[in-house]
């Protein structure tokens, strides 16, 4: 993890912000971003005292930090430790019973990978079913920097062609057709991609592949498969785009906001949609549940045509045991996740560039959390 620590030093040096985290999807939001504090869902009666250990996805690091802060405001004796080591590492530790729950960018896999089935292993480790609970969702922005263009509409097809190097200038007829009335310059398009393997890349390519299968023929992966110029982590691509006229990249909402990069609106077939947490939530709401019962693994419909839905989103899960071998641990996990999934905490995540869970999903998550024992 020394890399991310180094990233943190960079972030501090850059912005002077006190956010001491830097991960694949870190969000160097100023420390001032308000915590929802004592108003969170944890009432004093739910409090536990002692340690709770979790590990996993870097994408939800800032969200879970915020949730921990909120929880500890109410429950001063609770000590919750989340190590952002990556989804794979989190699941591995969860199966090895080293942590109480895991954070992951994707639900436990039910098909064999490298000779192992994650879902089965997790079930064996728990001695009960393991559940995927969607907890944090984050929209991915297509951020660009073109002189004189403040508003840009793209659809999956055109975006896929841009990121695959098929469309090379900003005044290409395909872009112009989506942006009537906008004067597009002849500037060459410079695509910036994440040079590290990242869940953001995976989700973005999932979107391109699902919504424009003929234009984006590569399999979605953590490693970039399109064209362009690679930069290190979210901060790297955002900085590079900001410094390059004609630049375009895909990056988490918070990075686009902090770098004041304009974000493309996405036309999913029912008109252009601007990136807002609500628009992203709409896509989550249309997702299909692939798990059964309280296992809330979701399959996002990236090709959704729902009006007003922003389709490029990423969902991260907390992976928990439905019934913990140690009842005390179960109580701790339940208490913390109850607070995390509460409306108050979910709303407070908006300021960090995440999107709150849409009501329908949040209700399901809350009832699943209640069923943990």
């Amino acid at each position: 993890m020394s890399v991310s620590r180094i990233g943190a030093i960079g972030a501090i040096a850059l912005s002077g912000a006190l956010a001491l985290s830097a991960c694949a999807s870190e969000n160097p939001a100023p420390a001032a971003s308000a915590s929802s504090g004592g108003t969170s869902g944890a009432s004093a009666a739910d409090c536990f005292s002692g340690d709770l250990k979790a590990e996993g996805s870097t994408a939800q690091k800032n969200a879970i930090d915020e949730a921990i802060k909120a929880y500890q405001t109410a429950c001063a004796n609770a000590n919750i430790d989340y190590q952002p080591t990556g989804s794979g590492a989190g699941i591995k530790q969860f199966i090895a019973k080293q942590v109480d729950f895991a954070g992951s960018d994707s639900a436990l896999k039910t098909v064999p990978k490298d000779g192992k089935v994650e879902a089965t292993d997790a079930k064996n480790a728990c001695g009960s079913d393991a559940w995927n609970l969607p907890m944090v969702t984050g929209p991915i922005a297509i951020a660009y920097n073109v002189k004189g263009v403040d508003k840009l509409v793209l659809n999956a097809e055109v975006a896929a062609k841009i990121f695959d190097g098929k469309i090379t200038t900003w005044n290409d007829p395909a872009i112009a057709a989506l942006n009537k009335g906008v004067t597009l310059p002849a500037t060459p398009i410079k695509v910036f991609f994440r040079s590290d393997e990242s869940g953001t890349t995976e989700n973005f390519t999932k979107y391109l592949h699902a919504a424009a299968p003929s234009a984006w023929t590569y399999d979605p992966a953590k490693k970039w498969t399109g064209q362009g110029e690679g930069k290190e982590k979210s901060a790297g691509v955002a900085t590079a785009t900001k410094g390059q006229d004609g630049g375009i990249t895909y990056v988490e909402l918070s990075y686009a906001q902090q770098n004041q990069l304009p974000m493309a609106q996405i036309d999913n077939g029912s008109g252009p949609v601007e990136l807002t947490p609500e628009a992203a939530g709409k896509t989550i709401a249309t997702a299909k549940q692939t798990g059964t019962g309280n296992d809330l693994a979701l399959k996002i419909d990236y090709a959704t045509k729902e009006a007003g839905a922003y389709p490029i989103v990423l969902v991260t899960y907390e992976i928990v045991c439905s019934k913990y071998a140690d009842a005390e641990t179960g109580k701790k996990v339940k208490s913390f996740l109850k607070s995390f999934s509460s409306d108050a905490v979910q709303k407070s995540l908006t300021s960090l560039g995440y999107a709150p869970l849409p009501t329908e999903v949040a209700t399901k998550v809350q009832s699943a959390v209640n069923a943990i024992s």
Binding site: G10, G88, G230, E232
Partner: protein
């Protein structure tokens, strides 16, 4: 008759000026000191050798299984897709970027560093030598992350137009042919690296130049040499082994530099056309490993990166060995 541990009383007889001689009792620390110091030195030496050996063994042990599964040629393939069922990875791209950027850094830093050292020891007025040397040494103390940030925020925008001009003017030379990469090119990385290693070259060269025997210098001047001729005939030959070892030390740092490079470098997408251009992007060994360390999800994948690390280890080792050989051979001529 002297001992290892102290100055014997017999080394320092009373001089003509009537000084009292060293007292034998306090001058020697005796056999115990001998044993302690000798033992400590031996242990330190053994630990260092053991550490280096163990690192090499670790790298090899971790790398071999991954290398065995590799479906592509490790030394000639440009693909990098470790892990999975059919891992395919090769290092040729990292090797080129690493070597090209480091060579660029050397081409710039060594002559410049030697010139600075000569100025500080031969030309600068006496009052200036100390403070100026301290300033140069201070450059060496700047953490590499700072160079990375400075390169990214300040130097890159400044260099971009220069690079554009070079591409337009000298683009017909394959080394300078234009590519689509906007910043973080091999040339740019080389420039930043050269600034990073400059103080190493300067500091070490300055030390050796300053030790040029006065007799050599005065002899040259007495024979009618100009100052430049004196430097060429007395200072430079005397300092050559020092300069070479300084350059190799600097090259070692340039090859392995991680943070600043990771910050600055522009990596290439899969299947990008091969070009010799210095204006192309690409990742070095160190930046590739650092950038992806968070996603070492299975031993096979980790092994691939460790194999790349092993190549860097061997590369650095070779560079240092060459430096040793050169210095040994040069010594014979200068002494």
């Amino acid at each position: 008759m002297s001992t290892v541990t102290g100055v014997s009383a017999t080394d320092d007889p009373p001089g003509p000026d009537g000084r009292t001689p060293l007292r034998g009792v306090s001058a020697s620390t005796g056999r115990l000191g001998d044993r302690l110091f000798g033992g400590a030195a031996t242990v330190s030496g053994v630990i260092v050798i053991a550490t280096v050996t163990l690192i090499a063994v670790f790298l090899i042990v971790q790398a071999v299984p991954a290398l065995r599964d590799n479906q592509a040629s490790f030394f000639t393939s440009r693909e990098w897709a470790p892990g999975g069922d059919t891992p395919r990875f090769g290092i040729v791209e990292f090797l080129w970027t690493t070597v090209a950027a480091s060579t660029m850094a050397m081409i710039i830093a060594v002559p410049f560093g030697v010139a600075v050292a000569l100025f500080l020891t031969q030309y600068a007025p006496l009052w200036m030598r100390g403070p100026a040397a301290a300033l140069v040494d201070l450059l060496a103390a700047v953490p590499s992350i700072v160079y990375g940030l400075w390169g990214l925020i300040t130097f890159a925008p400044f260099f971009k137009p220069i690079q554009g001009w070079l591409e337009n003017t000298l683009g017909w030379i394959p080394l300078f042919s234009p590519t689509g990469i906007s910043g973080g090119t091999i040339l740019f990385i080389g420039l930043v690296l050269s600034i990073m290693v400059l103080p190493i070259v300067t500091a070490l060269s300055r030390e050796v130049f300053a030790q040029t025997p006065l007799a050599h210098k005065e002899g040259a001047l007495a024979l009618g040499a100009t100052r430049w001729e004196m430097i060429r005939t007395a200072v430079l030959p005397f300092g050559r082994p020092g300069v070479i070892s300084a350059a190799m030390l600097a090259l070692g740092r340039a090859l392995g530099e991680t943070i600043a490079v990771t910050f600055l470098v522009s990596s290439l997408p899969d299947g990008a056309a091969w070009t010799w251009s210095l204006f192309n992007g690409g990742e070095t060994f160190a930046s590739k490993i650092a950038n992806n360390a968070a996603e070492f999800s299975n031993p096979n994948k980790t092994g691939a990166y460790i194999a790349a690390g092993l190549v860097l280890f061997v590369l650095t080792f070779i560079v240092n060995s060459i430096a040793r050989i050169v210095i040994e051979r040069r010594k014979a001529f200068t002494e």
